[in-house]
């Protein structure tokens, strides 16, 4: 079975419970969005999978193999994180060469062509790169490894709008040509929303949602109109939250929209992923 499975994983730092009995899986050839507010436990989860930290209890497997401290399992994973783990005096080209020793599938042509598309000079030292280019360097490395599971933790940090655009296009192009599993953890949900097809939401160390983006989006909607009408419809339904603007009220609801029960004068619209996320993870 080609997937990463996480079973009943718990991790605490002192008295702080970072992950609380989390079970989920990342299956082959999907683009996952791993979403959560700051401190929700996303990075902890990624660190546990990649063996940078160890779980207190639970089980993590990659394609059926126990993952922590298992080089064979870890070779199937590449994680790009905020931290730069390369020696800073290393040049970009050297870092690509170096990575290719650990990842036999590393595509040198791809790293060269992406570098030129992004305007990354391979002769530059990693420490001399700006925040944006440091991210670009790490992204190119990640994509070029051709690892079956590629984790991108805040991939677009410091990238300008043009480079973010180019990044997502390059990612989709690579994914189309060489399908594999990407797990993108980001706070910039709007930009990633159409790219991902699976959504995992972690809230306070617990798994809140784990489903396809389309299924998740079908569950949420908003209604807005005169406060009294909105309240009348919303009563007894699963209300995520609401906003009022003078006499106008907007309610965010979870569940099927019952169009026949909607009073006139009420506008109904879909919740996009970012708004649904905000409503689900507020408070």
């Amino acid at each position: 079975m080609n997937e990463i499975t996480i079973q009943n994983v718990t991790k605490s730092y002192g008295s702080v419970l970072a992950l609380d009995d989390v079970s989920l899986s990342f299956s082959e050839n999907h683009i996952y969005g791993l979403l959560g507010r700051n401190g929700a436990g996303k990075s902890t989860l990624l660190n546990l999978i990649t063996g940078r930290q160890f779980a207190d209890s639970g089980n993590i497997r990659v394609d059926g193999q126990y993952a922590p401290e298992n080089p064979e399992a870890q070779r199937k994973i590449f994680m790009m994180s905020e931290k730069n783990l390369y020696p800073t005096s290393m040049k970009v080209a050297e870092a690509f060469r170096w990575t290719s020793r650990f990842y036999p599938e590393f595509d040198r042509d791809l790293s060269a062509s992406l570098s030129s598309r992004f305007g990354l000079d391979p002769k530059k030292k990693i420490k001399s790169l700006s925040t944006g280019y440091a991210s670009i360097f790490k992204l190119i490395t990640a994509v070029a490894t051709r690892a079956p599971y590629i984790f991108l933790d805040e991939p677009v940090l410091g990238l300008d709008a043009n480079h973010r655009d180019l990044f997502y296009r390059s990612l989709i192009e690579q994914y189309s040509e060489n399908p594999r599993t990407y797990i993108i953890s980001t706070h910039l949900i709007e930009e990633a929303a159409n790219v991902i097809d699976q959504v995992i939401i972690i809230k306070n160390g617990r798994l809140l949602k784990d489903e396809s983006r389309d299924d998740l989006l079908r569950q949420g909607y908003t209604i807005s109109g005169p406060a009294a009408s909105v309240d009348a419809y919303a009563a007894g339904r699963n209300i995520l939250g609401s906003d009022t603007l003078g006499g106008l009220k907007t309610a965010y609801l979870l569940g099927e929209c019952d169009a026949s029960a909607l009073p006139s004068g009420i506008e109904i619209s879909h919740l996009d992923l970012q708004h649904l996320f905000i409503q689900l993870t507020n408070a």
Binding site: I31, D165, Y168, R169, I172, E173, Y175, S176, E177, E191, N194, V195, I196, D197, D214, L217, S269, H270, D272
Partner: protein, 122 residues
């Protein structure tokens, strides 16, 4: 054909409708090739599965078809098919909203008809 997506409709439906628009406008003529799933996905920054789902909607309706090893092509008769379909949807998509807005503004039916007339004269 890149465009921002409205939030009301699933993206795959919007992809299908945009291809239909291109067929209606003559940008994609009958028996010509339409962009590939990858081209659409990259240009719109959407998941390739979403682009495929959009194209598959059109395959099911016989508006486009697959030539093995070559790609997707506009069917002969696709223009008529799209027009027939859009005509059927015309009431739901435009007339209901138009009537609702007109009532909100207390426009009479006669006033609305006059406006329709004016629209045609443009």
């Amino acid at each position: 054909m890149t465009r921002e997506f409205a939030d009301d409709k699933p993206i795959f439906v919007q992809i299908a409708e945009r291809i239909e628009d291109c067929i209606l406008s003559g940008a994609f003529t009958e028996e010509s090739q339409i962009p590939s799933t990858t081209e659409i996905a990259v240009s719109d920054k959407i998941n390739p599965a979403t682009a495929l789902k959009g194209i598959n909607l059109l395959v099911e309706e016989g508006i486009v078809y697959k030539r093995r090893g070559l790609g997707m092509f506009v069917s002969t008769g696709a223009v008529r098919k799209v027009k027939d379909k859009r005509k059927e949807q015309f009431y739901d998509r435009y007339i209901i909203g138009l009537a609702e807005e007109a009532k909100k503004l207390s426009l009479t039916k006669e006033e609305v008809m006059a406006l329709v007339e004016r629209g045609y004269q443009r």
